[in-house]
Symmetry: none
Subunit: 132 residues, 4 copies
DNA sequence: GTGGTCTAGACCACA
DNA sequence: GTGGTCTAGACCACG
């Protein structure tokens, strides 16, 4: 029910803004069914400390998630995952497609055949997950 | 020998900086064998006009390519693709891997099975190329 | 820890580009031990104002220093001197040699004897420092 | 009497403009007594070919030397070193000092003691001459 | 507040 | 013609 703060991970050195990593990370985990309606987020302060980032950054991500109808604010308590009716639970395909499109365009410019690109993706899927 | 200016394409609205798009585009085309040592780049001004961007933006990309040993300056003339010994022609896999890693990480967070992710990538590879 | 903006000085009229003067100046001060890992650079805007140059000029120098692994970016904060492992702290001899080589070549072309050239350098070392 | 074209050498890759290298090279050799009044320069065309540079570049250097009273034009013939009365034969010290000043300033910023700087210059004077 | 990106336009150095 | 440098000023993203 309560989501552990170490569920999240951000790459501070990444070109991807931290708040965006948090925002997208929550959306993906909801899509994956890992976070469910009513689950309690860590507090801004706690999460900021665990991730070693500025609380304002976490707060910004949370606010965006609230605006998107994904989180709900509760006076004096931590935010919770909103009921599905306030936001569309995105299909995994929809969330993943932008990254795949980018990779596909690059593969095309690199002159890679479909089989080569797919093989390469297959290999990468084997790697243990780490942040970039 | 002389590279046509319309070989390049940039998405001015993209989050990816224009100069970065140019930089990476050149690297990929070299990797693909489309650009070769000694090939002459368009002039900064010409390319800037064709792409409808500021010459300084193009100049910045060219300077970065020179710093990377990929382009060579010739006083009074346009820049040329440098000999391979000054810059390691990157393997396509090396250039593509970062984008695939990102997609793989997202697929993992989305709880997608390998087969689903590969199928999705396969579908996207069918789409006609367009910039983002 | 914080580096004072007036530590830097540039000669705007010099043939040496301003951004290059800044770049080399930082390298030399690191070599001299005057700047150390973790020291905070002035902000781009502050330094630009003190030097009475355009912020983009300072920014270009900083970017080059970052590319060289000498400075590190910190989102929302000023840049800092990077740990030595990312950039080789250059030996003073290495940094000074190019200028000495040039002088030596000229002395040779001028037909100066070693003693004359050394004497002349000794005299010049007495002059109070000023920019060119 | 006729100056051999291979007396000159330029570094096309240098930051120093080619025409400047030629201009200063002639001045230094006159100062050294290597070139004397009446000595015949190579033709623009010949020198350009030997150095593998654009004839306009050589021509520019020659014109500047003429403007400085150092060379004299002769209809249909190559230019010659002008008599000393039309230009000051510069003292070697005057011609060398700018480069030494630069080196001295850098040595200062590097925190080098006088003895270290002199020692380093002495070492460099031992190196066989090459262009930079 | 921080730095990043881009523009429009100028001037210079070089060939 | 080429690229390099700099300016003034705008807007954005991030924290």
């Amino acid at each position: 029910m309560k989501i552990a703060p170490d569920t999240f991970n951000v790459a501070v050195g990444s070109a991807e803004p931290i708040y965006r990593q948090l925002f997208d990370g929550v959306r993906r985990r909801i899509s994956a069914g890992q976070f469910r309606t009513g689950d309690e987020m860590p507090s801004v302060r706690e999460l900021a400390q665990v991730l070693a980032v500025n609380p304002m950054t976490v707060s910004k991500a949370f606010s965006m998630l609230e605006t998107a109808g994904i989180l709900q604010r509760r006076r004096g308590l931590t935010m919770v995952i909103a009921p599905a009716r306030t936001h569309r639970v995105e299909d995994a395909a929809v969330l993943l497609r932008p990254s795949l499109r980018r990779a596909a365009r690059e593969a095309r410019e690199l002159g890679l055949a479909r089989e080569q690109a797919l093989q390469l993706f297959n290999d990468v899927l084997d790697e243990p997950g780490s942040e970039t």
